[in-house]
Symmetry: C2
Subunit: 196 residues, 2 copies
């Protein structure tokens, strides 16, 4: 291709973003090139700022632009409740719901002997320390084998601290149709049925 080297580099880097391939990256870069002033310059600036300032919160593992993330720094939130999530994206999903007003612990993955990810990599000792002052730890891990294995390990590690350990309810999603649900979910929803 007879492109400028700099533009090629930009396309190659954009193509490494999830959801973008070589074609859509080229399309995105072209759109940027046509809006150099209103979009490209501010985007480059915003990205450089975040790349320089982003850091993992030393308390919960959320990503923010300060040592302590806005959630840990918020005095209005309940200190007694710690919600354990696998990933920052799960934390963001919980926050979009807006139903939880406590603190978080971001594991950053699940236990995996193959990948040499043990309790220390997931900050579980740090979580146990925090849980001593808490009243409830909510295990909001994904409903996958890895997620549930890790949840069981954490529950064992927290046992004896006197803190209440809970997990998210399993059942029919809002707006869900039974016809399209898997058998496991229907079974779980049936076992956990409640008074109408």
């Amino acid at each position: 291709m007879e492109q400028s080297r700099d533009i090629e580099t930009l396309i190659e880097l954009m193509a490494r973003l999830p959801g973008l391939g070589p074609r859509s990256a080229r399309r995105a870069v072209l759109a940027l090139l046509k809006k150099r002033g209103p979009l490209m310059a501010p985007l480059a600036q915003a990205m450089a700022t975040v790349a320089l300032t982003a850091k993992d919160c030393t308390i919960c593992g959320n990503i923010g632009t300060a040592e302590i993330c806005p959630i840990c720094a918020d005095d209005a939130r309940a200190n007694g409740e710690i919600c354990v999530v696998e990933d920052v994206s799960d934390l963001w999903a919980m926050e979009r719901g807006g139903a939880f007003k406590g603190r978080y612990h971001v594991l950053g993955g699940t236990l995996s002997a193959l990948d040499a990810i043990g309790p220390d990599q997931l900050g579980i000792p740090r979580l146990v320390d925090r849980a001593r002052d808490a009243t409830e730890v909510i295990l909001a891990l994904n409903a996958t084998v890895d997620g549930q294995t890790t949840a069981h390990y954490i529950a064992d590690a927290l046992a004896g601290l006197g803190v209440q350990i809970t997990s998210l309810a399993q059942g029919v999603p809002i707006g869900g149709e039974l016809n399209y649900l898997d058998d496991g979910t229907i079974g779980a929803a049936l076992r956990a049925r409640r008074q109408f």
Copy 2:
């Protein structure tokens, strides 16, 4: 949401790229946040470089990082052939094919009375000047009503210069199946049939 303001800004700007919405922009930013060193910093740098240096080629209208784009600056390409395309993306598509070894003229759109886009906005007088020294002008505009209207206007403007005016062949695309082709394309392919 309890995000850092800078990260929110970055997500909002990313969501304005074609092919990305609010959800996929968030996913892309999260991937960037996790690869701050290897991906985010170089991407921000590449974008800033291009935002600063990108400019429209003063000869053909292609976007590059110099006054004269690499195609216009390439001495090995034929000066006598000018390929007229609507958009920089069309030029890139032609170059990916690699079949054309002449020069380009990028219109930057099509004639539109509604949007007040006339011949001057598309650089048609500049094209007519360049065509005086050319042997062939290839009208590679899109096969849409707007594209073909503009092609006819350009052909009229070039008439009398003694330059050969051609357009791309219309017919069955490589790998195309008749069953899935529209009637217009089949008709055009039939009219332009050739000796086997």
